[in-house]
């Protein structure tokens, strides 16, 4: 469960851009999961089920539009860019990671959630479609557009 906590928090942080809001969303996700546990039939992995709950919570929060103002991405950068921070971490890698985190944070939320679940969390297209309640083709097109957006923003770091 500890592993899931960090991953669920990570998804929320990348979606919401604020640690305080991510903590609230993660907490709420686990409470909902706990309440709904009798309905969980084990057809999906527990992790996928939790991703589904937290992703939808985050999208709902973003859609409500009454969130505390967050300068999107900045707090994420403080928390996740250069996580080891040791002397072996080159400046160039740090710069690349910061740019990447910023680029992810700037994606439209519908694309951002798909790229987070696929490329950062490793869910399959089918799992993402099920988690978000969208068609497989929609997963495919949103993921492609997200990667194209990221490619455009990360051009100078690409070979």
């Amino acid at each position: 469960v500890a592993t899931h906590q960090h991953r669920v928090f990570g998804v929320a942080l990348r979606m919401l851009g604020s640690a305080a809001e991510a903590e609230e969303a993660a907490q709420e996700a686990f409470l909902r999961a706990h309440r709904s546990l009798p309905e969980f039939r084990g057809e999906a992995k527990l992790s996928t089920w939790l991703y589904a709950i937290v992703s939808r919570l985050c999208l709902n929060r973003l859609a409500m539009g009454d969130r505390r103002a967050v300068r999107h991405g900045e707090e994420i950068l403080l928390r996740v860019a250069d996580p080891h921070g040791g002397p072996d971490t080159g400046a160039e890698r740090g710069e690349m990671e910061a740019a990447l985190h910023r680029a992810i944070a700037e994606l439209d939320e519908d694309r951002r959630v798909v790229v987070i679940l696929r490329d950062l969390e490793g869910l399959s297209y089918e799992e993402i479609a099920s988690a978000l309640g969208i068609e497989l083709g929609t997963v495919r097109s949103r993921l492609h557009r997200a990667r194209k957006d990221l490619k455009g923003k990360m051009e100078r770091f690409l070979p």
């Binding site: 960090h6 996580p83 990671e97 990221l150 490619k151």
Partner: protein, 100 residues
């Protein structure tokens, strides 16, 4: 298949998420089109960058008090009402026995 149609399928091709017919069409086009191959390499490099992203560090708010990080600072109002001021680690989620 046109360049535009092919490019829309390149991400799914990288993820091996195309059906056989689509895959064959994309591969036939890639064989003849250096520009789409360049586009593919750009996408491949982008996905490779993403694969290097480190997981987010843990939240103070969902760690337990025994790990030296102090009490949770984020408890949803509903949880508060229910007297659930404990951090997530203390919720009995393990009891379900579900897992990977």
């Amino acid at each position: 298949m046109t360049c535009s149609e092919t490019r829309d399928l390149l991400s799914a091709w990288l993820d091996q998420a195309l059906d056989d017919h689509e895959r064959e069409q994309v591969e036939a086009h890639l064989g003849d089109c250096p520009e789409c191959r360049r586009e593919l390499e750009g996408l491949r490099s982008t996905v490779s960058l993403l694969s290097r992203v480190e997981p987010c560090s843990g939240s103070r708010g969902i760690r337990g008090p025994g790990d030296g990080q102090g009490q949770s600072r984020a408890v949803v109002p509903e949880a508060r009402k229910a007297g659930l001021s404990a951090p997530l680690r203390q919720l009995p989620l393990e009891a379900g026995g579900h897992g990977r």
